[in-house]
Symmetry: C2
Subunit: 254 residues, 2 copies
């Protein structure tokens, strides 16, 4: 039942795993697997069936080995999650047109992360105790800093600005992913669920008790054909966040 965590083990061992520094063993049978194979299988499984389906047994089965064989390569499941995280961080390509200006670059980064989280919905469920200090994660962060380098911000402000964008994307993406997963899980569409809830709710709620909520709910229902639309909410909010950053950038430049 417990949630998944990153890290928590020996930092040195974690970093060696993340950077692929494995001293080649001199004796013993040739390994059947590699760490990369296990990580790839784990990512695929988590993508396809969710974090709750990601068990050491399932991974081992899919790879054709016994469960405990995995522990020859990886100290624990938490370390595997670290490796999965770093691997998928490598999917985010840097902005192509670096001349387009910081705002376009930040917008690109926001959308790229939004897409990343949707490709790998388990990412936002993992509790990140320690950031996975792997090569792809560090590269991704470096590219993000480059997007706001040289526009008049201090080093700390650069980090803080990236942080605002990423946190907003994470919050919005999390809501989007949570909402989308229910369709697969329950086989009930938003509309069906709402229609099943509405009559009972009506019996319980005085029509005048939540006037604003009622108005907004009706408006959303007409506009979105659903109770809410996370993608549209994200698209609405991102420019606002960037506007706020723009005000800061202008004040620093002027």
């Amino acid at each position: 039942m417990s949630t998944e965590y990153t890290g928590g083990g020996d930092p040195q061992r974690s970093i060696e795993l993340l950077w692929g520094i494995q001293e080649r063993p001199r004796r013993g049978p040739k390994p059947k697997l590699t760490v990369a194979m296990i990580v790839a299988e784990a990512v695929q499984l988590a993508d396809a069936e969710g974090l709750s389906a990601l068990s050491m047994r399932r991974i081992a089965d899919n790879l054709g080995v016994a469960t405990m064989s995995l522990y020859t390569y990886i100290p624990s499941k938490a370390e595997l999650i670290d490796l999965m995280m770093d691997t998928v961080h490598g999917e985010v390509a840097p902005p192509e047109d670096t001349e387009a200006g910081w705002r376009a670059r930040l917008e690109y980064i926001a959308n790229a992360n939004w897409a990343l989280y949707h490709r790998h919905p388990w990412m936002l469920q993992v509790i990140i105790n320690r950031p996975p200090l792997g090569p792809l994660t560090m590269t991704k962060y470096e590219r993000e800093l480059e997007a706001v380098d040289g526009i008049g911000l201090t080093d700390l402000e650069m980090d803080s600005v990236i942080n605002v964008v990423i946190r907003y994307v994470q919050g919005a993406a999390r809501a989007s992913i949570d909402a989308s997963q229910i369709a697969q899980r329950s086989g009930m569409t938003d509309l069906q669920w709402w229609e099943a809830s509405a009559p009972t709710l009506a019996k319980v709620v005085d029509g005048t008790k939540f006037p604003l909520g009622g108005r907004v709910g009706s408006a959303a229902g007409e506009e979105y054909e659903s109770a809410f639309d996370p993608a549209r909410n994200f698209a609405f909010g991102l420019p606002l966040v960037l506007d706020g950053i723009e005000a800061l950038v202008i004040s620093r430049a002027g």
Copy 2:
């Protein structure tokens, strides 16, 4: 291993539970417990020991009943999570000074939610399949809408503006909570962990490969005495987000 989920059961039953509509049974022994007692115990346990310690067995033990007795009151653990969510949503008091202007009200709401998530760190770990349509959750949403009512936004814009703030707070709070939990879990402070990681990392990373990351890391280390400071990041970003909203409000008013 699997994560916890809200809802997913029969919507009608869920709503009846949330609103406390229990038809008094006419026969049978007097119940030892109430739903409210179970929920209160569950919230306390999750607050104190985390979502991974929240098991039906632990709750039942603490209440002095057998595990399966809980299922007399609640259909499943997912419904219990729904009830826990609605309960803690009742802790957020509305802005006291309603005359202070929409920006002050939104700022208050953001900080109140930030505090709420930190009091109940499990909230952001739960996967919200369906929003828990309970009385306290709906009241909280109504109060949030009131904060931006009558300032020239459409009904949908009001919802979207609230959404931006809440999502940003959620993203930022999630990072803060994740980071703070590791201290309890591993008994290793940020500094200790960093000192254990740095030498191994140095062996692996060319000093020139991540120039910006290196600069930012040094600056953060001096300023925060840590790799990063989630609370400070939140305090930095919130005004930016509000600035972005302010631009929208002004454009609608003008």
